[in-house]
């Protein structure tokens, strides 16, 4: 995997890097994140590493970063501090993007994160933090108000939708589902093509077909596409209830 990215760096040379605050209480993971981010020193600059919820909020106050990367589970309660930090920042610093990193595959946490809206929020599994493209995609997306969900989490949602009877998703082909997972995860067409060993054209065809089947209006903006897919999945995932039968 190379560092090639379709997205041109939005930041100009004068303002070279996304300013980051990272919150992670586990040393090993924190070191992993540090190493991963050091690869893209020209694009990201970590202002502070925090070990818990309170110090994270203080660091945001102090540095006013572009993006916060936060563990979902930290002291003091070790439950969902990351998500609460995101909710809190929604009120106090709406412009700050938040990437919540987690070991939980359960879509519940991702859906909770997007409760207030998905703009500027990403949910990434920790094991994918080392993946340069996924990490940087997430940072860039949330910095510009987009959203990203880890493909593995999307898989769970898609799987759940497929089992529901009469689901529009069940009309999708296997390939289309894979592509949709990529789309929902905020991957660019090129990244999807890369990971699925497809041509970019094939990915575009699949996406058009998906949108047609799901009855979504065509929109070129990546973040809108992701949002639409995500919200659909979120709603469908949270309540595969009788109302859509």
């Amino acid at each position: 995997m190379s560092s090639t990215s379709e997205q041109p760096a939005r930041r100009s040379a004068r303002q070279p890097a996304y300013r980051l605050v990272v919150a992670e209480d586990a040393y090993l993971i924190r070191e992993g994140i540090r190493s991963a981010l050091e690869r893209d020193e020209d694009e990201v600059e970590v202002m502070e590493y925090c070990p818990d919820f309170k110090s994270l909020l203080r660091a945001v106050e102090r540095h006013n970063p572009d993006v916060v990367i936060t563990d979902i589970r930290m002291p003091p309660t070790n439950t969902d501090e990351g998500i609460r930090a995101a909710a809190s920042l929604w009120e106090t610093h709406p412009e700050v993007g938040v990437v919540v990193i987690s070991q939980y595959v359960s879509p519940h946490y991702a859906l909770t994160l997007f409760e207030h809206g998905s703009a500027g929020r990403a949910y990434l599994l920790k094991e994918h933090v080392g993946h340069r493209i996924q990490l940087m995609e997430a940072i860039r997306e949330v910095a510009r108000g987009g959203s990203v969900v880890d493909p593995k989490v999307v898989d769970v949602l898609v799987e759940a939708r497929l089992r529901a009877r009469n689901s529009p998703l069940s009309q999708l082909t296997k390939r289309e589902r894979e592509v949709l997972a990529g789309v929902a995860a905020g991957q660019s067409n090129a990244a999807i093509a890369d990971s699925l060993f497809l041509t970019k054209r094939a990915v575009e065809k699949n996406i058009n077909s998906i949108f047609a089947k799901l009855d979504l209006t065509d929109d070129n903006t990546v973040s809108r596409r992701v949002q639409a897919a995500l919200l659909f999945l979120a709603e469908a995932g949270a309540e595969p209830g009788p109302e859509e039968e």
């Binding site: 995997m1 070991q103 359960s106 769970v156 009788p242 039968e245």
Partner: protein, 643 residues
């Protein structure tokens, strides 16, 4: 409170040690049930000694008949022999019945003594002068003995004014009959029928023949006889009027049977012996009849008391069937004993004293010989005592019956309480176990998450970083990439294991998110209808969660490929409910051996005091329903702790 028998001078119910020492629960748990039969005397088998006494009485009666009938002395030998035989047998039977019915009472022995005296009295029918005199004296002894019986009944001792009557009787013998014997050439039997006619046997005790003196003593004797009988009647009547209800029950038959005879005795003394009015045959007939009737009262009294006790037992048993509280049992005891101050007191084996139903210490003085209280228990184990009016000591059958019924009622209550307690204890310990197991699983999940899983995740990150450093298309690059994929699989497996041990969502967020998550993972097409039920104790949430999971797995395994399932969760004021229903093939619950899944569900719900129901019919699908009652304070505040 000290309770003492009335036989003890001045000692009755002196408040002493009133301190509330015990709670109702201690009352309820004070005795280990020991089912030793107390006394297997039901049906009253005859003892050898009683058989011997009976045989003796029959022999005595036969001897009396023989003496009187063949002696040629008695005025009416046949009638007198018959009366004597009837009297002897009646007293003997009465004595034996009393010995059986009230082994604690010596009254039966008194009756037997009376029977013996009657045999002696029959000697007055003998022509031999010495035997004749002994018989005549025996007749007086019979009269004095009968008086004692009436005065002491149902006990054996005389009290108070009874001694006055007894004094008159004694005076009659000492001042009337004995001087008469000394001065009269012929002595006469007390019973008119037994008196000699024609040639009487000579009086061997004659000191000097003084007809005038004898005449005077005859009058003194008759007057004293009249006073004796009248005194006895007055005493019996007064005693009856003053008697308590249970004593009246006992005394009434005796009074009814004896009063005519005693009255006849008085009238005869006054009219015949004193005023010299000639006797007629019908007066004689009345006298004979009342004399035969007289001892039957003692038997009737005993039988009446026993019958009443039996009736009381039935009455109590009927009312105790509803397992009334202790206070109600006490009320019942009071009503049946007709003693408004009767009390039930309970033995505390550990403290070694009695308490009343309010837990107040009641001291029962053992020196009081149990006349105002009677204890009941199993074998040698005391359980309770009835504190009652001293008069009830004369109605032991009734107290015994009431005590036995109370004991039974209390035992029943205690057994029921013990059962409830042990079920409660079992449930508590089961719940503790489930809670501990639940907490342990959660801890293991946390440890996995924060330990091994985190280390593997960190390694996975490092692996990816390393992958970045080398050429992707190189051999090493491809190796590492393959390693990464396998690493991901291992992580997925570990995640599944951790989730299976205890879903973190369940502990963190509660039932609804955890069940939504489970629904997402379910392999069955599923409709989910989950009401926001809030949070409950961990073991309750776990029980419902795993039951739903188990039920969904059952749907996947048994309901058939086309089955759709519905998972519902809701709560009302009393309980939180869940239901997993499907439209699959169903089964016949009665013929279907309970599978491990169903057993698991039952165990889980049972452990937290919940209930589980399964309804199914072939072709109609299956519904698994469960509920857990919400205890007050069960809902935890876990959903609002966030700072």
């Amino acid at each position: 409170m000290r309770v003492c028998g009335h036989s003890r001078p001045g000692g009755c119910r002196v408040p002493l040690n009133s301190s509330a020492v015990s709670s109702q629960s201690e009352l309820e748990s004070l005795v280990d049930i020991d089912v030793t039969p107390r006394d297997p005397a039901f049906g009253m088998p005859l003892r050898k000694s009683d058989l011997a006494l009976g045989a003796l009485a029959v022999t005595g009666a036969c001897a009396a008949v023989a003496i009187v009938a063949t002696g040629g002395v008695a005025m009416k030998p046949t009638a007198y022999a018959a009366v004597l035989a009837a009297n002897i047998l009646t007293f003997a039977v009465g004595g034996l019945l009393w010995r059986h019915g009230r082994p604690s009472s010596a009254f039966g022995n008194l009756l037997l003594v009376e029977a013996f005296l009657l045999v002696v009295a029959s000697l007055s029918g003998s022509p031999a002068s010495a035997l004749n005199l002994i018989g005549i004296l025996g007749g007086w002894a019979v009269a004095v003995g009968a008086t004692w019986l009436l005065l002491s009944f149902p006990g054996v001792r005389l009290r108070g004014s009874a001694w006055i009557v007894m004094g008159i009787a004694t005076a009659t013998v000492l001042l009337g009959e004995l001087p008469l014997i000394l001065v009269s050439p012929t002595v006469r039997d007390l019973a008119a029928m037994g008196r000699c006619t024609g040639i009487c046997p000579a009086n061997p005790a004659l000191a000097f023949d003084a007809p005038n003196v004898a005449h005077t003593f005859g009058h003194v004797e008759a007057a004293l006889q009249a006073a004796w009988a009248t005194g006895l009647l007055v005493y019996l009547a007064a005693h009856f009027v003053r008697a308590s209800q249970p004593r009246r029950r006992l005394v009434a038959p005796v009074l009814a049977a004896s009063a005519p005879f005693v009255a006849a005795f008085a009238v005869k003394a006054l009219l015949v012996d004193l005023a010299g009015v000639p006797t007629s045959s019908w007066v004689q007939a009345i006298f004979t009849g009342t004399r035969i009737l007289f001892p039957l009262g003692f038997i009737a009294g005993l039988l009446f008391a026993r019958a009443y006790a039996g009736e009381a037992l039935v009455y109590m048993a009927r009312r105790l069937a509803g397992r009334p509280p202790v206070a109600a049992v006490e009320q019942l005891v009071r009503r049946v004993l007709d003693d408004p101050e009767a009390r039930l007191v309970f033995w505390l084996p550990r403290r070694k004293h009695y308490v009343d139903r309010h837990g107040v210490w009641v001291e029962l003085d053992p020196a009081c010989s149990g006349k105002t209280w009677r204890s009941f228990g199993h074998g040698n184990t005391r359980v309770l005592a009835i504190v009652h009016d001293p008069m009830l000591g004369e109605d032991p059958e009734l107290v015994e019956a009431v005590g036995a019924a109370s004991l039974l009622a209390l035992d029943n209550r205690r057994l029921q309480q013990d059962l409830l307690d042990s079920v409660q204890a079992l449930r508590t310990s089961q719940r503790r176990l489930v809670k501990a197991a639940s907490a342990e699983r959660r801890k293991i999940e946390r440890d996995l998450h924060d330990g091994v899983q985190q280390k593997l995740v960190a390694l996975r990150i490092q692996l990816e970083l390393a992958l970045d450093l080398i050429e992707a298309e190189s051999v090493a690059g491809r190796r590492l990439a393959g390693l990464g994929a396998r690493f991901d699989d291992a992580l997925d497996d570990l995640r599944l294991v951790a989730h299976g041990i205890y879903p973190p969502l369940l502990s963190d967020e509660g039932l609804v998110p955890a069940l939504h998550e489970a629904a997402r993972r379910s392999s069955v097409p599923l409709t989910v209808d989950l009401q926001d039920v809030g949070r409950f104790p961990e073991e309750h949430e776990a029980a419902i969660y795993y039951c739903c999971l188990e039920a969904l797995q059952n749907v996947a395994k048994h309901a058939g490929d086309d089955a759709d399932a519905t998972l519902r969760l809701w709560r009302d004021r009393r309980a939180v409910h869940f239901a997993v229903s499907d439209d699959g093939v169903g089964f016949v619950p009665s013929t279907h051996a309970r599978g491990a899944g169903l057993t698991n569900m039952n165990d889980r719900m049972g452990a937290v005091g919940g209930a589980l129901g399964v309804t199914s019919e072939p072709g109609e699908g299956t519904v698994v329903e469960g509920r857990i009652t919400i205890d007050a304070g069960d809902r935890t505040g876990r959903d609002v702790v966030h700072v």
